[in-house]
Structures are given as C-alpha cells and as structure tokens.
Amino acid sequence: MEIIEHFLYTKEHEWVNIEDNIGTVGITDYAQQALGDITYVELPAVDKEVEQFEQLLSVESVKSASDIFSPISGKVLEVNEDLTEDPSILNRYCYDKGWIVKVEISDADETSNLLTADEYRNYLASLDRNDNGESAEE
C-alpha cells in the first residue's frame, strides 16, 4: 500500500498535500483499491466553500457510490477536469495525476486534526488487525 511521506491523511482515506496555503486533495491508494474500478467522479464547483470533514464530492465505482470528504476547510480553487473524461486515472495514479481538487486553506491550524504518513500507516495496520480479529472469531 503506497503512502506518500509528506502528505497528510484522514481516517476516511483522503490525502492533502499543502504548499503555500493551497491544499491539493485526493484519495489514497487504500481508498482506490477498496473502491475498485472508478467509473464516475462528481467534481465540486470551483469557488465552493467547504468545511473540514464535510462532503466535498462523490465518486462511483462499477458497483457502488461513495462520498469523499474534505481534509481541510477552504474554497475550491481548481478541479481536475481530466477525471471527468477518464475516472480510471484515480485507480492508476491516485497520488499525482489523480489529484481531485485544490483548496485555498482557510484555517491552517486544522492540520492538527489530520494524520501524518506514519499515523496513517498505523491506522491502516489497525484496520487490518481488526479484519483478522473478526475472521479469527468465526
């Protein structure tokens, strides 16, 4: 499972990469694998204001629809239009070409609510342990 060291993460499996008060947001490798083949991305409107952990957009895979939440509060500056034409970019390049939106961050202190790469890695490991725990109880 790929994790980028200097990005920040949510427990809902979004990532944000912050540079000069602009957060580039996407979904993690774990998320894209769990979703399966992604077939539709509903991009938010440019200038949309979002609160941290509020629904930002939704994506659909062949068999399901899922909400994606904003890791950080702010205003949507730009959306990745390429995803409309080819949603499978999210499966293939979730950390670079598969970025979804860029947000102008309104409260930089909110990053304390996010997970570092190490914390996210530990969080994934704990999910894994829970999975194994469940099957051991059968």
Partner: protein, 362 residues
C-alpha cells in the same frame, strides 16, 4: 457462520475480495477488477462459482405430486432434456422465488433456486408436494460452475464430449473428468454459456481444469450483477420479491396463462386490472448510475417510483438500471429523473435489453 462453497480456498488463493451474499461467503471480484472481468466474459470466456445456489430433485409425475401447482411454467408438455424458467408464487401472485425446472426424466425433475431462498423454498415445496412425490434437497451436495462467454463452447469441447448438441435451454448428462453430470446451456450473462452441476467435493478439480485454459478467467458476483443488468435479467430481492409479481416485473410470459398454479388467480386478475407498478429500464445520460433505492421522478419533479438495480455499464459506457414506475406514470414520456437528496440525473426509458450484442443463442 456463513456457508462456504467447495471453491472457497481457490477464491482466496486467487486473491478474491470475499463478501457475504445470501448467507454465503462469496467472491465479489478478483484482483484484476470488474472491468477486466466484464471484458473476459463478453469477449472470451469466464467462470463463476455458483455452488451457493440450490438444487431440488423431485421424483413423480408433475400433476400427482403437486409440482405442477408449485411453479408458474407449463410442465406437462416440457420435453425431457429441456429447462424452463419460471416462478414459485404466493397466493397474492408475489414471487417466492424465480427458478429453472429441468425435466430429467418423464417423472423426475430438478429445480434450481436462489441461494438465499433455499430454506424458504424447500419448506414451501415440502408443504405442497403430496402423494407419491419424493423431494430431495441436494443443494449442499451439488456444486455449480457457470462457464459463460462467446468462447465457452470451444473451452468446454475437450472436457465435455458432445457439448455441441446442446441448444439454448437444453441439457444433457455428460462425462466430465470422470463424473456423470448434468450440463445445461443456460446462464445469467446474455452470452453463450453453460452450467455444470458437479459433485461438491470434486469441484476444485473441475475449476482448476477450466482455469488451466488461458482463454478462461475467474469472475465474481460483482460482474455477474453488471452482466445481468446489461441484459435486464431479474435478480431476486431487486426486480422480484414476495410483494412483486411477474406481471409487474414484465415477466408474465413465464407464467402459463391457463394452468392452475398457486398465485395464478391473482396474476389473471392483475393482468385484467393492470399492474400497480411496472418495471422500466433506465439509461442514464451520463456515467453516473441509478442505484437501488434511488427515487424516480417525472421531468416536472413528481415522485414516480423507485430504482431497484443499477450499475455502470462497461459495454455502453453509461450508467444503467431498472426500477418500478407507479401505474399513473408509465405513459408519462420517455424521460425520467433519478437521484436522492444529494443529486439528480436524467435518464431515458429504453426497451430491454440494454446490451444487444450478446452471443446467447449463437
């Protein structure tokens, strides 16, 4: 604890994502994903483990055992060696299950039912069979492998000598890897395909033999649902239920119009009065798909029904689905809106099936 098919270990070894389905742990998809599995089925050949499905063997004449009253399809004129699709109904005309009847011999039948309904169906059959009829639930002794896709006949030729003679909805008993088993030309994908009923514990051998052919890929329940929606086949719990009749689901041709069976009276009344709701096929204007539970609206915003199935269609490149429209909206135009509290999308009402290139009768 959920049931496991005799191929559970094979699915795990292949890296399948396992999900609960109708009381069973089943492979949803394999690592290559649903789109690749779709391509394998529509272009080449794919195999599904459907060992979870139920099989009943009934011995005796259709009329004296009461079997004829249990199912909607005509049995008296069904030739030995053929299959017929139909329903077991309740007195209200609602569907207890959809099923296929195989006439094994003049007085011997196999009934194939949905996994989640095995216990309910067995109780219903036992309650209504009478006289000299013998009922045997062989579900847990019978594995079922579905070999589906345009190349399925070519793939099976070396394993099933004489496979060519099977026409659509017929079956035979063949020697497959040393076992005398039923092979039918049936399926759930809209492609040329076969279902092999195989001894439970020997199923891994057949599965491995099929996968040894490089033209064959394993496919899971995820793509199975996509494929069946593309050809508008019903799935119990979605298009059919105890509260939905075959008339509402657009399937009344699978109910004999003259014979006496449980629910027949209710169906005839419903045909005369017109059903309260009707199944429709929805082709989305975008890649966004209708999903089970989405509301359906007229273009002027009137609530008109509900979606019961939906998926992205890899064959068409758009979202597709099925839903029920209330009677008063069935002739309200060819456009419908689907969605929930978060979004609305336009769809066209289209004739079934969505996907028309299937090799089913090839």
């Amino acid at each position: 604890m959920a049931h496991r098919t005799p191929l559970y270990q094979q699915h795990v070894a292949l890296g399948a994502k396992i999900v609960p389905f109708g009381g069973w742990d089943m492979p949803l998809q394999y690592p290559e994903g649903i789109l690749k599995e779709h391509e394998a089925n529509r272009r080449n050949c794919s195999i599904f483990d459907c060992s979870h499905m139920g099989e009943f063997i009934i011995s005796g004449a259709a009329d004296t055992t009461g079997l004829d009253r249990l199912v909607s399809q005509p049995l008296a004129d069904q030739p030995v060696g053929t299959c017929r699709y139909g329903f077991a109904l309740n007195e209200r005309g609602g569907v207890i299950d959809d099923l296929i009847v195989y006439r094994l011999e003049e007085k011997k039948w196999m009934v194939v039912v949905n996994a989640a309904n095995i216990d309910k169906d067995a109780a219903h059959f036992r309650a209504h069979l009478k006289g000299t009829g013998v009922f045997n639930d062989v579900s847990f002794a019978t594995a079922k492998l579905d070999v589906q896709g345009p190349l399925s006949r070519d793939v099976l030729r070396p394993l099933v000598s004489g496979i060519e003679r099977l026409t659509h909805y017929t079956f035979g008993v063949f020697n497959v890897l040393g076992e005398e088993v039923i092979v039918s030309r049936t399926g759930y994908t809209g492609e040329l395909g076969y279902e092999i009923y195989y001894p439970w514990e020997k199923a891994p051998r057949l599965w491995e033999a099929l996968l040894a052919d490089p033209r064959v890929k394993p496919t899971g329940l995820g793509v199975r649902d996509v494929l069946r929606v593309e050809v508008c086949y019903p799935l119990y719990g979605h298009e059919l239920s105890e509260d939905i009749s075959p008339v509402q689901a657009g399937l009344k041709r699978f109910a004999d119009p003259v014979k006496d069976f449980i629910g027949a009276e209710a169906l005839r009344t419903e045909v005369l009065r017109g059903p309260s709701q009707q199944l429709v096929c929805l082709a989305s204007r975008s890649r966004r798909a209708p999903r089970q539970g989405h509301m359906l609206f007229t273009t002027d915003g009137m609530p008109a029904g509900i979606a019961v199935s939906g998926t992205f269609s890899p064959a068409l490149g758009i979202g597709i689905g099925m839903g029920f429209l209330k009677k008063e909206f069935t002739s309200h135009g060819k456009e419908i809106i689907f969605g929930d509290e978060k979004f609305k999308e336009r769809a066209d009402l289209v004739a079934r099936p969505f996907y028309k290139e299937g090799t089913l009768k090839g």
